[in-house]
């Protein structure tokens, strides 16, 4: 089901790109309700739309039918967060969000693979953690940028996904009493993601029980704009091999930064060997 959901989302994204004639910096779509292409619970759709409606990064929304699926288009602007994020020396990558639907499908993947907690690292506006919470998982959102954490605090009134304003490499994960967590690492391997992943991984390996039960999701790209990894996996192959991880699966999903790209963003899921 998850692979099909991801494929269907990519299909409507591609059609939306053809139709979109607005000027917004970022834009995304969420189907209005359950359909054959998106057999998701109605209450989940409502919560996904609440995230879009309550999120100040979006300044406009309207209805549009795409491939016969009635959707809401959300238009947004993240420039002020970009400007703020480049002031942080230790910031790994400027804020650029995944799509809310992609966050939901990624969180669903985590849940269906038996993970019970989501740790969204470099979480931006916290959408992956929020989607984990929709699915009934414990969620934690770790973000260095204070302005983004303030934004997250506006969004936790619907569902509390536990935002922490902290450097993820310094964070004490043992304080969360994690049992079966999946760590989402924000940032492409080539855009500081490797450093961030390495820093977090080091913290987790010290607890062998946690290490054995942990899952990982890395954000990868197939774009030729970035140097490729000799072991592939959208930039994460060598990292996975060198750190005793095992690939579970790649999911191809739309994000704000791949809107005009032919290839979608790759979500590379891995677990301990």
């Amino acid at each position: 089901m998850i692979e099909q959901l991801a494929k269907n989302l990519v299909s409507i994204k591609k059609e939306f790109v053809k139709k979109y004639d607005g000027q917004s910096q970022i834009q995304e779509i969420i189907p209005i309700s359950k359909s054959d292409m998106f057999p998701i619970e109605e209450t989940h759709f409502e919560l996904l739309h609440q995230f879009g409606k309550n999120n100040p990064i979006y300044y406009n929304s309207y209805e549009q039918k795409i491939l016969d699926v009635p959707c809401i288009v959300y238009e947004g602007d993240i420039n002020k967060y970009w400007l703020n994020s480049i002031q942080y020396d230790s910031s790994h990558a400027p804020f650029s969000p995944t799509w809310i639907m992609s966050a939901y499908i990624s969180a669903l993947f985590a849940k269906e693979h038996g993970y019970s907690q989501i740790i969204d690292i470099g979480s931006g506006d916290g959408r992956i953690a929020y989607c984990g919470k929709i699915l009934g998982m414990e969620s934690y959102s770790i973000e260095l940028d204070e302005m983004l954490v303030d934004l997250q605090k506006l969004l936790i009134t619907t569902l509390d996904f536990n935002p922490y304003c902290f450097d993820a490499i310094q964070f004490d994960y043992s304080s969360l009493n994690l049992t079966r967590p999946l760590f989402f690492i924000g940032g492409l391997a080539q855009m500081g993601g490797l450093e961030l992943a390495m820093g977090v991984l080091k913290k987790i390996t010290s607890d062998s029980n946690l290490w054995n039960n942990a899952g990982w999701a890395f954000v990868g790209t197939l774009s030729q704009k970035y140097p490729s990894d000799p072991k592939n996996e959208a930039g994460w192959g060598s990292f996975i091999e060198n750190n005793n991880l095992q690939l579970i699966q790649n999911l191809s999903l739309p994000t704000a930064w791949s809107f005009n790209e032919f290839d979608e963003t790759q979500y590379v899921f891995a677990k301990s060997l």
């Binding site: 917004s24 910096q25 300044y59 002020k80 400007l83």
Partner: protein, 143 residues
């Protein structure tokens, strides 16, 4: 015509282009980003030709060319590196600071049109920042 003659002809053309570019850069108070990039590319292009020609020329057979090379090197080091390059870098730094301040102070409720117009200013800022990085890389090569 030998390869070295062809390269010498090319050097003549390119060094003349460089002189024109530098004269134009001197006369303008603020260059566009594409003019800045074109100027640096021309400086780098001619500098690499000089390095290559110096390896293949000797004082006996190529005295005229070596004179021209010496003259062009002086233009690059005295006019470009000491005058124009610092002026461009200062312009970029000041302009980035100015736009950044203006964008940071520009808060409050905005219409869809205002947000989208302001987004163009952010795009300009990103372009200026990339150009500054490019110019700084040139400066790092001078050390």
């Amino acid at each position: 015509m030998s390869t070295i003659d062809e390269i010498c002809d090319m050097f003549d053309t390119e060094s003349q282009k460089l002189e024109n570019t530098i004269t134009s850069a001197e006369s303008k108070s603020d260059l566009s980003l594409s003019e800045i990039i074109d100027t640096y590319y021309q400086v780098m292009n001619v500098s690499s030709m000089i390095s290559m020609l110096q390896e293949h020329c000797n004082a006996e057979n190529n005295s005229k060319l070596l004179e021209k090379i010496c003259e062009t090197e002086k233009i690059i080091s005295n006019k470009f590196n000491l005058e124009i390059h610092p002026k461009i870098l200062l312009y970029l730094v000041t302009s980035i600071q100015h736009v950044t301040k203006s964008l940071q102070s520009n808060s409050g409720n905005k219409s869809k049109e205002e947000i989208e117009n302001e987004s163009n200013l952010y795009d300009d800022l990103r372009k200026k920042m990339s150009t500054k990085e490019f110019v700084e890389q040139y400066a790092a090569g001078l050390k």
